[in-house]
């Protein structure tokens, strides 16, 4: 007898078009992300630039691939889960429409998933045991949010960025330093050879109890430093030595990590967390992982970090959270809408 619950997950909240099949919330049967497969070669034709973020040309091949790689028939699926918030409306709508259509045609229940909550699922995916409550930190290009996680369906937003997300700060500082895109990996690489204490960049804590984040002042400080404290002068970056760039990258990275670790620690104390969870694209940063590990260990807490392949946007996390909603009987109807905001709605 087949006791497995198989969920098809769909993710289209920003740049990535992704689909995945996950069994019982943990076993990944397939995971397809559009940027990681060669759509052009495989399906012929060219994805027009116009639709590069519109997902329309990618959703069908990605879904087809996810089902094929899972070696199952649609009948074997138990539900279709889709990230319907928060994100870019025109992008979310593509995944949502696909999910509704499949749900209707295959006669499978539809499940709505919060994209940011789903990122946490990536951190829990490979954990054998999870002690709750957890202070959960999601750090990506578009989001920097801290949650009080009682379980994966009971999350309370404790704080979020009031200006730039941490990942965005990495990208923009990489631009200032004329490093390649994406900024996260290039700053991390440059920082490896630099002294994190070379320059004392500001750490914006927003008051002693705040769990919100602000990274735009840090970005301005790096820019000002690279301008030689003269905003009208040409940038000094072109004439900087590799060592100086490395020092700036390392000092900037240290400032971001300092703030993230301190706020996570603050949140953990506040809610009496037994575990710290880390997810989102910036969770791939080794220095951040190490600093959080150190903090967690020193305070007797356990750190769970998303495996690198599930740090950035993917559909495994959507299918995984969908499983717990399936078990809890939390289904959506055909009136489900895409929402640009809603970091705090389960």
């Amino acid at each position: 007898m087949d006791n497995e619950i198989r969920i098809l997950g769909i993710e289209t909240s920003c740049d990535e078009t992704a689909a995945a099949v996950v069994c019982n919330g943990k076993e990944v049967s397939s995971s397809v992300i559009s940027s990681q497969i060669k759509l052009h070669e495989k399906y012929g034709g060219v994805v027009p630039e116009l639709a590069s973020r519109a997902h329309i040309e990618k959703i069908y091949p990605v879904l087809k691939d996810a089902i094929a790689r899972a070696s199952i028939l649609p009948e074997q699926l138990d539900a279709v889960a889709v990230a319907n918030r928060p994100g870019l409306s025109v992008a979310l709508i593509v995944g949502l429409t696909a999910a509704k259509t499949l749900s209707l045609v295959w006669e499978k229940p539809l499940i709505a998933v919060n994209h940011i909550h789903a990122h946490l699922q990536s951190a829990m995916l490979e954990a054998d045991a999870l002690e709750l409550p957890a202070a959960a930190l999601i750090v990506s290009g578009g989001h920097t949010s801290l949650y009080d996680c009682r379980n994966c369906l009971d999350l309370k937003l404790l704080g979020a960025t009031i200006d730039d997300a941490a990942g965005e700060a990495f990208d923009k500082v990489a631009t200032i330093l004329k490093l390649s895109y994406p900024g996260g990996p290039s700053i991390e690489k440059a920082a490896c050879n630099g002294n994190p204490k070379a320059i004392q960049f500001p750490r914006s804590m927003l008051g002693k109890d705040s769990l919100d984040f602000s990274f735009s002042g840090l970005k301005t400080a790096v820019l000002y430093y690279c301008q030689g404290n003269d905003m009208k002068a040409p940038s000094r970056v072109n004439s900087m030595s590799e060592n100086e760039i490395a020092d700036i990258a390392a000092s900037f990275q240290a400032a971001v990590i300092d703030v993230l670790v301190k706020k996570a620690s603050r949140a953990a104390k506040k809610i009496g967390a037994k575990t710290i969870l880390l997810g989102g694209g910036v969770a791939a940063n080794s220095a951040l992982r190490e600093a959080l590990e150190e903090m967690a260990e020193a305070s007797g807490r356990k750190l769970l970090v998303a495996p690198r392949k599930y740090c950035t946007d993917n559909a495994v996390m959507v299918a995984s959270l969908g499983y717990y909603k399936y078990k809890a009987g939390m289904f959506a109807d055909m009136g489900l809408e895409a929402k640009a905001s809603g970091e705090d709605s389960i």
């Binding site: 578009g142 200006d163 730039d164 200032i176």
Partner: protein, 147 residues
């Protein structure tokens, strides 16, 4: 309508947000506001002020660089767009730009200079922000706006 240019000096992030609030409070709906200026010149902070002047929760207004469009539903529907990552005018338009504009909406566009052809037929309020020091910004506003 003849458009005039008004100049402001902001000495801090807070002053930029306050100016934004004043601008927001005068909006009547239907405006498209372009926010241009280099990295770190205060575009998002000004947008934060404008949206809070329209009744949005200021803390929820953050940079749309990655997501590309933030929406705040307050006195009007505020669409806060960032063209920083748009690779073409067509891609910008594919964000649903034409549908955002309307009498009960206010559209804010950061890095509007990148997608000027998409704005040709519109009567936009143009705001340019310029670095004058680490915290000092010159803010120039051109368009039909009575402050």
């Amino acid at each position: 309508m003849q458009s005039k240019t008004i100049e402001f000096i902001s000495n801090s992030v807070d002053e930029t947000i306050r100016l934004g609030r004043k601008i927001g409070a005068t909006l009547k709906g239907g405006e498209v506001i372009c926010l241009d200026g280099n990295l770190s010149s205060g575009k998002t902070h000004l947008a934060k002020g404008i949206a809070s002047g329209l009744g949005a929760d200021g803390d929820s207004v953050n940079s749309p660089t990655f997501v590309m469009v933030n929406e705040y539903h307050c006195k009007f529907d505020v669409y806060h767009i960032d063209a920083y990552r748009a690779e073409s005018v067509a891609e910008f338009e594919a964000l649903g730009f034409a549908e955002f504009i309307g009498p009960s909406a206010v559209v804010l566009i950061e890095w509007a200079n990148k997608i000027l052809p998409a704005l040709e037929s519109l009567d936009c309020i143009r705001i340019e922000l310029e670095h004058k020091g680490q915290n000092v910004r010159l803010i120039k506003i051109t368009g039909d706006l009575s402050l």
